[in-house]
């Protein structure tokens, strides 16, 4: 996927000013997620759970190579093909070979953020493969030609009416169709795709080293169908998704579902160990299972002693839901596959700081994300690491540097500082309004009142 993060401010402004309904839809959806999450953790020692989950993930990452080899061995024993890809183009090549050798014409795809990361759909289409997104939300935005705006709810920025319009145009449903009628139309069309596709594509929430299991959580059943009905299944799994043991999985399934939507566990969970039908001994299921282990920047981030903890992320989206910055715009403002707080630390880590600026700055540093992360990623601290580096590498504005330089040199000279505070009150308002930064402030807010004495002056006069 192309990264367009540089336009963050312009896109955010556009969403806020021109499409207020997006802001409303995102606010409502994220509030529901937040409330449900809170209920799900109400009776639990959430801190103890997240401490445990944090340690399991950190342990897995600190022994990652061994666990990847273990998972690979288990999968191969069960007859799966394991591929490794360093970059998006490696993944493309692997898909191209499979698709060409097997004569794949149609693919059904379950939601996978990693596939968005590596731009899989456009690539497959360029190979002549028709790709159906089968998650209802993904399907809606595929029809609209938009990227997902949320890790868990890709279409949360769309209203019922948006879906009515596009389904009316593309599927011929009535203009005032009920949500049930719309879902049924999508179900019918996609059911046909499930039954006729050669290839099913999925991501992977977890990869259990001990058993080689790929675990997937969902609510619609489209992941189960994508991984069960077509002849070939390809699972795209980031190398950081490893869990050491089978016994670790049940808690991670629950913690992830609770954090994402407040459910005890998704309506459907798949734990895939190998191919199903022939040559296996099972009545049906894919004949071929391909697992593509993808790096795409992850090993580089792992080597970063200050920023690696972002790799613990389980993609639950809780930090997006709680984030007051994310809630004003939804994910499209960020111009990167991962938005919100987690995007601000995954983007620079996986793609590069220059490419994903100003994402680490798209945060008011309120810290709410750290309260809800189920694997205790210190998101505010990591955002700050990237801010620091942006400054060190000279990537922030000259104005900002000058203003903070000025603040520092006055703040270390107390008499000058006192004088400056006093003098600020003497500047006429029209002048203030045109100073850098105060201009941005004044565009939508009244400037602070500067009249009257400073506290220093009151102190000198004596406080009664």
């Amino acid at each position: 996927m192309d990264v367009h993060s540089r336009d963050y401010r312009a896109r955010a402004r556009q969403i806020i000013e021109e499409t207020p309904e997006v802001r409303e839809a995102v606010n409502a959806a994220t509030q529901t997620f937040v409330d449900n999450r809170q209920k799900a953790f109400a009776d639990l020692d959430g801190t103890a759970l997240s401490r445990w989950a944090e340690r399991v993930k950190s342990h897995a990452l600190s022994h990652l190579a061994d666990y990847l080899e273990e998972a690979e061995a288990r999968l191969v024993e069960r007859g799966a093909h394991v591929h490794w890809a360093e970059t998006a183009s490696d993944v493309h090549q692997i898909f191209e070979c499979i698709v060409r050798e097997q004569g794949v014409k149609k693919a059904v795809k379950a939601k996978s953020m990693l596939s968005e990361e590596i731009g899989l759909n456009p690539f497959l289409e360029s190979c002549g493969v028709e790709v159906f997104e089968t998650d209802l939300g993904e399907y809606i935005i595929q029809l609209l030609g938009e990227p997902p705006s949320h890790i868990v709810g890709p279409s949360i920025h769309k209203s019922l009416d948006d879906t009515r319009v596009i389904f009316h145009e593309r599927l011929g449903t009535p203009r005032d169709a009920s949500p049930e009628r719309l879902a049924e139309a999508a179900r019918d069309l996609l059911r046909d795709a499930f039954l006729t596709a050669d290839l099913g594509i999925s991501g992977g929430n977890f990869l259990v080293a001990e058993t080689g299991s790929i675990a997937l959580i969902e609510n619609e059943g489209n992941i189960r169908l994508s991984t069960s009905v077509p002849r070939i299944h390809i699972a795209l799994v980031g190398i950081e998704k490893v869990l050491p043991k089978w016994a670790d999985l049940p808690t991670f399934l629950q913690v992830t579902a609770k954090s994402a939507t407040g459910q005890p566990v998704g309506c459907f969970v798949s734990m895939i160990q190998g191919p199903g039908g022939s040559p296996g001994d099972e009545p049906d299921g894919p004949e071929e299972l391909h697992v593509v282990l993808v790096d795409n920047g992850r090993s580089r981030l792992l080597a970063d002693p200050e920023a690696w903890e972002a790799l613990r992320c389980v993609r639950c989206g809780a930090c997006l839901n709680i984030c007051p910055v994310y809630r004003q715009t939804g994910g499209h403002a960020y111009g990167y596959v991962y938005s919100g707080p987690i995007g601000g630390i995954l983007g620079p880590g996986l793609v590069g700081l220059e490419e994903t600026l100003p994402l680490p700055f798209a945060s008011s540093a309120c810290g709410a994300c750290a309260d809800v992360c189920p694997v205790r990623i210190p998101i505010p601290d990591l955002l700050h690491v990237w801010r620091q580096r942006a400054v060190e590498r000279g990537l922030t504005s000259d104005v900002e540097r000058s203003v903070l330089g000025l603040l520092t040199s006055t703040a270390t000279r107390p008499r000058l500082f006192g004088w400056a505070e006093k003098a600020a009150g003497l500047l006429p308002a029209p002048v203030l309004r045109h100073l850098p930064m105060l201009r941005e402030w004044s565009a939508g807010r009244e400037p602070p009142r500067l009249e009257g004495p400073t506290f220093r002056e009151l102190w000198d006069e004596g406080i009664e």
């Binding site: 700055f361 008011s364 700050h384 990237w386 580096r389 105060l438 565009a443 220093r456 102190w459």
Partner: protein
């Protein structure tokens, strides 16, 4: 007992009366207040924006100014959090960190005061929790308890713990988002006569937006309300 007031740069310039109220309040509780004249800015704007050497310089300056203070009391949750939680990352021996308190926190946790007076009888207030006071200092109940014990009704506000959108330089780097965040706070505000907060940045943000939109509610610093609670003077 002797405390040093760190008025903070926003407090000095924009909330001088409230800082004076903090002095009156502390003196009325038999606390000896001094005001080290060399104090300036705690360095948070620079830290927050990622300018570490500048933040460190200001932190070192501030730590030196308050080196001999028994307690440093700040009428600001955010700056108190900077001293207590961030100085240890910037300075080698940040003794000032463990002696610094936000005003309400100091009253309740150190002076063990539960009631200041009855000067807020019948007042309907909303309380905005600044993010750093809430999450870094974990100051949540102290200001609310002091206001309520003086007779104020703190009206429930579903967004009382959500960020106002100030966020230091964030307010001018992503102004449209920052303003949208303030609007969410204002749009959900219950029927109250005054909104109170311990943080100057939040107050400037919320008040600046409210005035621009013509929302007639006053936004006032916690220190002033606490002094009213004690003195009964509005």
């Amino acid at each position: 007992m002797r405390v040093s007031l760190f008025v903070t740069c926003l407090g000095d310039r924009f909330f001088a009366d409230a800082a004076a109220d903090a002095v009156r309040l502390l003196r009325s509780l038999d606390v000896d207040v001094d005001f080290p004249k060399n104090q300036t800015c705690c360095g948070q704007p620079a830290w927050n924006a990622g300018h570490i050497p500048q933040a460190r310089e200001m932190a070192a300056h501030t730590a030196a100014v308050f080196a001999d203070s028994d307690y440093v009391v700040l009428p600001s949750g955010s700056c108190a959090a900077m001293l207590r939680c961030t100085y240890p990352r910037l300075l080698e021996a940040p003794v000032v960190a463990e002696r610094s308190y936000e005003l309400a926190e100091f009253l309740v946790d150190v002076l063990e005061i539960t009631e200041l007076g009855s000067g807020l009888e019948g007042r309907r207030l909303a309380y905005h929790h600044g993010c750093h006071a809430l999450r870094e200092l974990e100051v949540e109940e102290q200001p609310v308890r002091l206001l309520e014990s003086a007779g104020a009704k703190i009206v429930p506000w579903e967004m009382d713990q959500e960020c106002c959108g100030f966020g230091g330089l964030f307010a001018v780097k992503a102004p449209e988002v920052s303003i949208a965040m303030a609007d969410r706070k204002l749009d959900t505000l219950p029927d109250v006569e005054t909104v109170v907060s311990a943080d100057g940045g939040c107050l400037l943000q919320l008040e600046g937006r409210a005035r621009r939109r013509g929302v007639p509610i006053p936004f006032r610093p916690l220190a002033s309300l606490l002094w009213e609670a004690r003195s009964g003077r509005a």
